[in-house]
């Protein structure tokens, strides 16, 4: 099982900030995970569809979105926060 945390507008748009999931075996990278999440949830499909540049953190470390996430216990998908 993998905990996925959503930060920024993704969380705002879907009304929750985390899910616990068991990704399909085909999910390797952060990009794969986002694509898989979009297939599983209409709200996530909508929210992710509005954003192009997302930030990924794997077990507490910021990594490129293309990073391998198969061994992760927690992944954070962050819509960059620029307001203030």
């Amino acid at each position: 099982m993998m905990k996925v945390r959503y930060v920024g507008t993704i969380a705002q748009r879907i009304g929750r900030s985390e899910d616990t999931v068991s990704p399909a075996d085909s999910v390797v990278s952060g990009q794969d995970l986002i694509a898989w999440l979009r297939e599983t949830d209409d709200g996530l499909n909508f929210a992710f569809g509005l954003r192009k540049n997302l930030m990924l953190a794997v077990d507490g470390v910021v990594r490129p979105i293309s990073s391998d996430i198969r061994a992760a216990s927690q992944v954070a998908i962050i819509d960059p926060i620029s307001g203030g």
């Binding site: 930060v7 920024g8 900030s17 540049n53 910021v62 960059p80 926060i81």
Partner: protein, 244 residues
Amino acid sequence: MPDAITPEERRRYARQMMLRGIGTEGQQKLKSARVVVVGAGGLGSPVLQYLVGAGIGHITLIDPDTVSESNLHRQVIHASTAIGQAKVESAKTFAAGLNRWTEIEPIQALASAATLRPCLQDADLLLDCTDNVESRRACVAASAGVCPLIIGAAIAFDGFVTVVPADADGKAVLDALYPGEPEPGDTCEMLGVLGPIVGVIGAVMATEAIKLLAGFGTSLAGRALFFGAQNSSFMELELLPRAA
């Protein structure tokens, strides 16, 4: 040589001077400090509240905007009667009412590297309380090799804080936090913001500032601390990891 602390100041700051890491020496450092704050809005409000309250000696405050009614739910240093005034002037009025030992130098201007460089010549610290990536890049460029930078950002229910030491690769930090080009419309005006979120993030920024200036604790350099209000949780992320 830091300025001496007067008996009146000693009474005023007694509850923070009793803390290990501050004391008389730390309070003198705060009194002697020269800090630049960019942005007198959502994040700038709590930052100013706590830095002025803590007795920072001199704050240069930079912001181009005027106070509007829709600012007031979160930009809590500005009074209803200040609507239409320059934010830097309204903030100066607030600071004067809170602590006469803090000198505020208001500059009503947009932050750019050119605007910031002269302000940073004798600065000990820069705080980025802006609301857009372009201004953040200006803060990074101007502070590189000059002074530490504290970056804060908030929108909707979320925000984060990080610290960029003067000798760190600030551009790489920003590239980690903002991969790709900024999305259009990523502002509080377009996406909304819960008032206390800027309070939480701004209070962490002020905490980091006091630590850096007084010289105690471990800063958020190399890390970003996120806070999400929807499940009331903090999340610490390591930035710029070594190659795997």
